[in-house]
């Protein structure tokens, strides 16, 4: 740097006066053309600044951001226009902690003649701890003859208008569709073996209609829940979600009256495949449906329900092939990729069991939790009702018998009640007599103390005398009373 210093560059002393010009540099005279150019440039800058401000900062200018959106395409769900939606399905895969990532759940409930169970279901809905605004509810009401629909609408509107701002749910859709189901909903016809195949196919159809009408690209999870669950943990959604499996079900039991053993495995549709069942499936007709829990098809499959240990680890997982439909949590991508509830015989299974099979076929994980239990409502079967009636009659008969017995006793008591009073009287009399007798004896013994001393030789025996004599006097008294009683009885006899 120093050699370029203007002070020493060419022998002149350095001028510190502030005049800085380099004597060797060429200074052209500013021409009018340059000045004009400079003016133009200044003007240009001002115009450019104004235009830029106008374009970017001025509110209401809409055309320009599209220039900058080229880098943003595909980043998130983006609204182009009101009629156009953009979704990136890789954002709705479903993770173990969905409530933190605000993942939306579609809660599906198929309903048919379910009016009596609705209040119970709504108490469960109110108690669920998964953020309600992240859950969309979907109901399918089909072929109902009672007030299911009216009551459902009423209760849903109440729920959405609940004073607690955390109670209302997300989108709520009620789908009405009648399939013309001929099968009765009462317990006996519902669970009879012959009706199973066609009943399951119709159920599957209903489930598919509900899902296909309500599943949207923003759902990460789908939760299927039956209306007649009686007891379930409030945290069930999170509990199942934490496992981060494609399809997961809890164990389903039901409480029973004491005379039936107190509790019983309910949902037998969650099972692991067995060799026997596979061989059986091969031997069956194309349209046949294997249903679990009936003696007609002995499959020897390990059932989730029977593996329950009330004290077992609730987080224990078990690979299963068929699933029960009471409470299924599945990632939405399972349904998106085409897994559904077959309304035909898929590998000899239909509905939820077929769903499990199909999910397995597409390499999704299907898991059951043997020690995490929810409780299905107990509805007595016809046999149970008959048995209960019998028991009731037995109980009534027993009660009547007991009452009769009590009455008899009472009668007897009434009849012989006076003798009892007499006995009390006699007793007190007797005691009086005994007292008198002992008092007499005392005076006697005082009188005859000397001759008595002569009679008794040892001091020991002397000590025992008074009780003995008392006893003797009591005996005398009793004898006297006996005589008296006899006299009384004799008196009464005639």
């Amino acid at each position: 740097m120093s050699r370029h210093h203007p002070g020493v560059s060419n022998g002149y002393p350095r001028d510190d006066g502030g005049l800085d010009f380099a004597p060797h540099s060429f200074h052209p005279r500013t021409s009018p053309a340059t000045r004009r150019r400079r003016k133009l440039m200044k003007l240009g800058i001002i115009i450019a600044a104004t235009v830029l401000f106008g374009l970017f900062v001025w509110p209401g200018n809409l055309s320009l951001p599209s220039i900058f959106s080229f880098g943003l395409v595909g980043s998130t769900t983006e609204i182009l226009m009101d009629t156009v939606r953009y979704y990136d399905l890789s954002n709705v895969q479903g993770t173990a902690r969905g409530w933190e990532r605000e993942e939306r759940i579609l809660l599906c409930v198929p309903l048919r003649d379910a009016e009596p169970h609705l209040p119970m279901m709504f108490s469960h809905l109110r108690n669920l701890t998964y953020p309600h605004h992240l859950m969309d509810l979907a109901f399918l009401v089909s072929d109902s003859k009672d007030r299911t629909l009216e009551l459902l609408v009423e209760m849903l509107e109440d729920l959405q208008a609940h004073e607690d701002p955390k109670q209302p749910y997300g989108e709520i859709s009620i789908i009405e569709k009648d399939f013309g189901q001929k099968v009765n909903q009462d317990v006996e016809s519902r669970h009879g073996f012959a009706a199973q195949a066609s009943r399951r196919k119709l159920m599957a159809q209903a489930r598919n209609w509900l899902l296909s009408a309500t599943l949207r690209p923003y759902h990460s999870w789908v939760y299927w829940r039956d209306v007649d669950v009686e007891t379930a943990p409030f945290t069930i959604v999170e509990d199942l979600m934490r496992h981060n499996k494609d399809v997961i079900v809890p164990n389903v039991w039901r409480p029973l009256p004491d005379w039936l053993g107190g509790e019983q495995p309910y949902d037998l549709n969650s099972w692991q495949e067995s060799e026997t069942a596979l061989a059986l499936a091969d031997s069956l007709d194309e349209d046949a449906v294997i249903v679990e829990g009936y003696a007609e098809y002995a499959t020897w499959r390990p059932h989730l329900a029977y593996l329950r240990d009330p004290y077992g680890d609730p987080d224990m997982e078990m690979e299963i092939d068929g699933v029960g439909g009471v409470s299924i949590l599945a990632k939405a991508r399972v349904f998106r990729s085409g897994v559904h509830f077959p309304a035909f015989s898929f590998e000899k299974h239909a509905e939820t069991e077929g769903f499990g099979k199909m999910a397995k076929r597409m390499q999704f994980s299907v898991i059951g939790l043997p020690h995490y239990t929810i409780w299905h409502l107990y509805e007595p079967s016809v046999d149970d009702i008959k048995h209960m009636e019998e028991m009731e009659q037995e109980r009534l008969a027993k009660e009547a018998e007991e009452q009769e017995k009590a009455e008899k006793e009472k009668k007897i008591k009434e009849q012989f009640g006076d003798t009892n009073g007499q006995w009390e009287k006699d007793k007190s009399e007797l005691q009086n007599i005994a007292k008198q007798a002992s008092a007499d004896q005392k005076s006697d013994s005082k009188k005859n103390s000397k001759p008595r001393d002569e009679d008794e030789t040892s001091a020991d025996s002397q000590k025992q005398t008074s009780p003995k004599s008392k006893k003797g006097s009591a005996e005398n008294g009793a004898k006297a009373a006996d005589k008296k009683k006899k006299g009384n009885a004799a008196k009464e006899e005639p």
């Binding site: 540099s25 226009m81 890789s90 605004h133 009648d178 690209p217 998106r336 990729s337």
Partner: protein, 368 residues
């Protein structure tokens, strides 16, 4: 080198630098000032556009606690599916899995004379470089249309991106049609179709039209013509226009071989196959002797001749929404040794719905 530095430089103001500096400052300030500029813009626009199907309205914005969405009832008993869909105002969903965007496809779509306010569009595109390009092109066209004249606007448009990678990167015709690649390719295609179908099928949809992104020519009355047959599944014949290299004249040849009637040979083949093998159509190594609809076209004017089919192609396919609602989907796994659209026809058959073909009713595939 002798020229002194510093003061001299200062005197020379470089206006170009200053301009660029000012520009950059403004640019930075702009982005600091409003980081999320696109959100308010779209909301400010909402009152002008057509009301979309209600269930989609609040989907994309994050919901706040305390919001109280209404209870909505949909009676699916009232959704009609009739041979005269225009008269009965029946909603149709046109679904297109797209890997490349062809302008011809969009132009043809715009030419359909079914009322556009009854048409919902659904697209699904892979998340690849090619898919990104197609998405951009598609979005441009969609934006143009939905901002255009009212009667050209569609009822709603959903664009989805796949959540899985396609097995083959190249979409070239040669690579795509290699036999060993077919199973994986068509399985992936099935998943794309199912993802699109089950997330867009609405509560009021009567018909679903599957239209491939490379179909560039159909009669404008395609939907009405197909619906008039009142069949659960109906397929026109898919051809391709080309220039005959010998004569130099334009000609056409059959393209889609997935619409067929089953043959005893094919059934025998299936019986001897492993559970995970599939039968493919149109390959010399696998002669199935099925009757292909592609070769049944004879008279140009007999467009309404129907044939019953056992397998269907997906290039253009009109399906009653009830078939899909019952659960009929495109199996991404071998289903009776069939996959994708052919498996779909089989599954529909298992559910009690039959497939029909129109050999003389032609749609045209893009020629690469």
């Amino acid at each position: 080198m002798a020229r002194p530095m510093g003061p001299v430089r200062l005197r020379r103001t470089n206006y170009v630098t200053l301009t660029i500096g000012a520009f950059l400052c403004l640019f930075i300030l702009y982005f600091l000032a409003n980081p999320g500029s696109d959100v308010p813009i779209s909301t400010s626009r909402s009152p002008h556009a057509n009301p979309p199907p209600s269930r989609k309205s609040s989907a994309s914005k994050a919901k706040l606690i305390g919001e109280r969405p209404p209870v909505r009832r949909f009676n699916l008993n009232n959704v009609t599916i009739t041979p005269d869909p225009v008269q009965n105002r029946e909603a149709i969903l046109i679904l297109t899995p797209m890997a490349r965007f062809y302008q011809g496809y969009w132009d043809n779509l715009m030419k359909l004379d079914y009322p556009h306010d009854l048409i919902s569009l659904g697209f699904i595109l892979p998340k690849t470089k090619e898919g990104n390009a197609a998405t951009a092109a598609l979005q441009a066209q969609v934006t143009k249309t939905q901002k255009g004249p009212l009667n050209n606007r569609f009822r709603s448009v959903v664009i989805e991106r796949q959540d899985f990678d396609p097995p083959i990167v190249s979409q070239d015709e040669g690579e795509r049609h290699k036999m060993e690649n077919q199973k994986a390719r068509r399985a992936s295609m099935s998943r794309a179709r199912n993802s699109l179908l089950f997330t867009t099928l609405g509560v009021d949809t009567s018909w679903v039209l599957w239209l491939d992104a490379d179909i560039i020519e159909t009669p404008p009355s395609l939907i009405q013509d197909l619906a008039a047959h009142d069949k659960p599944l109906i397929v026109p014949n898919c051809y391709q226009r080309y220039t005959d290299p010998e004569t130099g004249k334009p000609a056409e040849r059959p393209y889609d071989f997935n619409s067929w009637q089953d043959s005893p040979t094919a059934q025998e083949m299936a019986a001897n196959m492993g559970p995970d093998d599939i039968i493919l159509e149109g390959y010399r190594e696998m002669a199935t002797y099925r009757s292909l609809m592609a070769y049944m076209a004879d008279q140009e004017d007999e467009r309404h001749v129907e044939v019953s089919l056992d397998g269907v192609g997906g290039t253009a396919l009109l399906v009653k929404a009830d078939v899909h609602r019952d659960g009929a989907m495109f199996p991404p796994f071998p289903f009776y040794h069939l996959i994708e659209t052919e498996g779909f026809a089989k599954m529909a058959k298992r559910l009690g719905w039959s497939a029909t073909g129109l050999p003389n009713y032609k749609v045209y595939h893009y020629n690469e």
